[in-house]
């Protein structure tokens, strides 16, 4: 079977890879590029653990083909920290213990970052609706929501 050659940008770096036509972007990230921060919780678009941004749009990488990455700009959780300096959201999640097992966390962080880029001052219900596609089996969501709200306040103040 002929593999597809894809040229794309991931976390600001030019990347080339080969993939099967049916291979999802999530599988390419995890299995071909060894970027295993994005998780597979469901593979059907329900849980958000695989969230990445493509050209600044938040999407489920489990519902995107690797071949569709051609010419796109993709951001994954691996691109969120600046070297050893965590992104303010990552820092806040640690300080406020907004995670337990951590499986949902990369997706939640990517989604929360996309929210704050679009809306630096979201209400609690805006945060809850925006993150409705990110399922968490551990935290009960409250700490996640609070950490996003607190981080948004810090980032506005800074």
């Amino acid at each position: 079977m002929a593999k597809i050659h894809v040229t794309t940008t991931i976390n600001g770096e030019p990347v080339e890879f080969l993939c099967e036509p049916q291979q999802t972007m999530l599988d390419v990230l995890r299995d071909e590029l060894r970027l295993t921060g994005s998780k597979e919780g469901c593979a059907t678009g329900d849980c958000g653990a695989c969230s990445v941004t493509v050209g600044d749009r938040l999407v489920c990488s489990c519902l995107m083909l690797g071949a569709e990455a051609e010419g796109q700009e993709i951001e994954t959780i691996e691109g969120m920290a600046d070297g050893d300096t965590l992104h303010p959201l990552q820092q806040k999640f640690l300080e406020e213990a907004a995670l337990q097992c951590g499986i949902c966390t990369p997706g939640v962080l990517i989604a929360a970052k996309a929210l704050l880029a679009k809306n630096p001052d979201p209400s609690e219900s805006e945060v809850r609706y925006w993150l409705a596609g990110n399922l968490c089996r551990c935290t009960g969501y409250d700490k996640i929501i609070r950490a996003v709200m607190d981080c948004a306040a810090d980032m506005r103040g800074a």
Binding site: M1, S51, L58, C60, M64, E68, Y129, A132, G133
Partner: protein, 288 residues
């Protein structure tokens, strides 16, 4: 299993040629939020996937004679940021934005919502109420069809081999017009409609309804356009008697099934209630 191939043509002509040549063995890919789930689950086994998002017409939104032409593959996230569509057709935009999560909105399209053929597709009743017309490109050139003529049954459409929906034309609005879409789901987010109701109407200066379209989803094998529902509203000020007539027309039109989300009786009752509520919201929007 056949080896799958992936194509991403840059023009409609090319896409139509590929699709027609595949004789039913190819699938068009827009946002993939239905298609890739079906592929993964083995429900479909196409030999070719044709990504249509590189075709400029399919991802454009243009003003046309005071209305808007929206590409079939425009995502919910993009339409939701379009001030012109939000002002002219808030009901269409709110229906489309109800689909899935923020992540799903990043990819889901109205073309996909329609052509997937689900009776519960949320954008479809609102598009039907809006009297939207789609452009369809195929091996024999282009044709136009009303949105209500596309879905013929669950998972079935009237599109012929090789045909692709190009865009939807939402016509210019007369003054004092409004539309609305409401759905009922057991949760507040991320669920499939038990009932959906889309209504578009126009009022005269005295507040009398001069034109209306009423559409229901999830209560029959296809979305329904209710002539009786429109008749109940036209000539009225949406008073109690008109609302009763609309409720009765909605209930009479339903041919639902019982499933885990709701029984037949429940769906019928909710259809009447949602139609009335959507009519009231459309009225408020029309009054400005």
């Amino acid at each position: 299993m056949n080896a799958l191939t992936y194509e991403s043509p840059g023009s409609l002509d090319e896409a139509v040629k590929l699709l027609a040549a595949a004789k039913g063995n190819a699938k068009v890919l827009a946002g993939g939020t239905d298609l890739l789930v079906q592929l993964r689950m083995g429900m479909i086994k196409p030999a070719m996937i044709i990504d249509i998002k590189k075709i400029p017409e399919l991802t454009a939104i243009n003003e046309e004679n005071g209305g808007y032409r929206v590409g079939a593959s425009v995502s919910g996230a993009v339409l939701g940021e379009h001030d012109g569509m939000k002002a002219a057709w808030p009901g269409v935009v709110e229906a489309f934005e109800l689909i899935g999560s923020t992540q799903i909105q990043g990819r889901a399209s109205m073309g996909g919502n329609l052509c997937n053929g689900s009776p519960a597709a949320d954008a479809v009743p609102a598009m039907i109420a809006a009297d939207a017309v789609c452009t369809i490109a195929g091996p024999n050139g282009r044709r136009e069809a009303k949105v209500e003529d596309i879905v013929t049954g669950p998972g079935q459409t009237s599109l012929a081999n090789g045909e692709i929906v190009v865009d939807f034309l939402f016509p210019a609005r007369p003054a004092r017009s409004g539309d609305a879409y409401l759905r009922f789901i057991p949760r507040t987010e991320m669920d499939i409609a038990v009932v959906g109701a889309g209504i578009s109407l126009t009022l005269d200066d005295a507040g009398v309804c001069t034109d209306a379209r009423v559409a229901l989803g999830a209560v029959a094998p296809t979305q329904l356009l209710l002539q009786d529902g429109a008749a109940a509203l036209i000539g009225s000020k949406l008073d109690g008697a008109a609302m009763e007539k609309l409720d009765a027309a909605a209930r009479a039109a339903c041919r639902p099934i019982t499933d885990k989300r709701g029984t037949i009786e429940y769906r019928i009752k909710v259809a009447g209630v949602l139609a009335r509520r959507a009519a009231k919201i459309a009225q408020q929007r029309a009054e400005g």
